[in-house]
């Protein structure tokens, strides 16, 4: 179990580093997908299959595609070789060190990392409790005394995101398209007049032909 964790974490970290430093933008997107996959496997190792499947479904199945489409919209991808160098890397390094120290402090308050102490980590939950965890999650989303407010706010947030994205990304209707529509209507009405003339001419023909046939 430990060795699997070490391998998966190493792969995830490597993929994360490649995401930000790879020169080829499409490869960076692919490495991002690999890091999502690594995180999904880590969720699985925490016995949370639902979170792992959610990670696959939403991050790899939807957000990665969105990111790749966004990349393809903004640049000529085939020759994309970006210099992956950020000029403020010193401040970035300091901030990430501080964040790392913060995380380690907080986590070690909760999980005492001492391999000699029995029960150093939380004892594993019963298998039944884990199997029921998805049902418990569902109940907690909509129970009045649990997370229903957050749930409804999440749906409002999704609605706002959808509306905002459509406003931003919708192709603008340009003025000449309006003109185009008007011109098409003019042409169509001209066609209809031409048809009417043809029909009238056809109607006249038999009546003219009859006197000639006598």
């Amino acid at each position: 179990m430990q060795i699997v964790f070490i391998i998966v974490s190493a792969v995830t970290l490597f993929a994360g580093i490649q995401t930000v430093s790879n020169r080829n933008l499409f490869h960076a997107a692919l490495y991002m997908m690999l890091s999502f996959l690594g995180v999904a496997v880590l969720y699985g190792m925490l016995e949370s299959a639902f979170m792992a499947a959610t990670q696959l479904l939403v991050y790899i199945g939807a957000i990665s595609i969105l990111v790749i489409f966004a990349i393809m919209m903004t640049r000529r991808l085939m020759q994309a070789t970006e210099p992956a160098f950020n000029s403020q890397w010193q401040w970035g390094g300091v901030a990430s060190m501080l964040l790392f120290v913060l995380f380690v402090t907080v986590i070690s308050q909760v999980f005492v990392v001492n391999p000699n102490v029995q029960g150093a980590f939380f004892p594993p939950a019963a298998d039944e409790a884990i199997r029921n965890s998805v049902v418990d999650l569902g109940v907690s989303f909509v129970s009045a005394d649990q997370y229903v407010l957050a749930f409804e706010l999440a749906s409002v947030l999704l609605l706002v995101a959808l509306v905002g994205a459509i406003i931003v990304a919708r192709p603008d209707v340009p003025d000449n398209e309006m003109e185009e529509a008007v011109v098409v209507e003019v042409v169509e009405s001209a066609e209809m007049e031409a048809e009417l003339v043809e029909v009238e001419a056809a109607e006249e023909e038999p009546t003219e032909a009859v006197p000639g046939g006598h």
Partner: protein, 118 residues
């Protein structure tokens, strides 16, 4: 749960063998005579004109975007659906409200013409 996921992990580890086997057999059996004409990209039998870069329609992006929103909505709805036996009337009302809010989003997208393919 861990033994369940161990099965999936084993499956993931073993499954590359099944597509690899035919491809390796082909690699052994096939002729290897590349030349410039064979390796040129296919463009209905003529020489490829211009770089392989296509005008990307914004519409693809909008469809993917709406899909992300509905995907996240479905992720919320799955545990609620599985827990249906234990929900109160209030909970069912909350679920209905959730679905209605997202249907509003779709209605907005439709009305604003974001769903047209052109």
């Amino acid at each position: 749960m861990l033994s369940d996921l161990q099965y999936i992990g084993l499956f993931l580890a073993l499954s590359p063998i099944f597509p690899a086997a035919p491809i390796i057999i082909q690699w052994i059996l096939s002729p290897k005579k590349p030349n410039a004409i064979k390796n040129s990209t296919y463009e209905c039998g003529i020489e490829a004109v211009g770089d392989s870069w296509v005008q990307f329609k914004v519409q693809y992006y909008i469809y993917a975007l709406i899909f992300v929103v509905f995907d996240v909505e479905a992720v919320f709805l799955f545990p609620i659906a599985a827990a249906y036996g234990q929900l109160s009337l209030f909970a069912i009302g909350a679920t209905a409200l959730f679905i209605i809010l997202l249907a509003d989003g779709l209605a907005y997208a439709w009305a604003k013409g974001a769903l047209e393919w052109i």
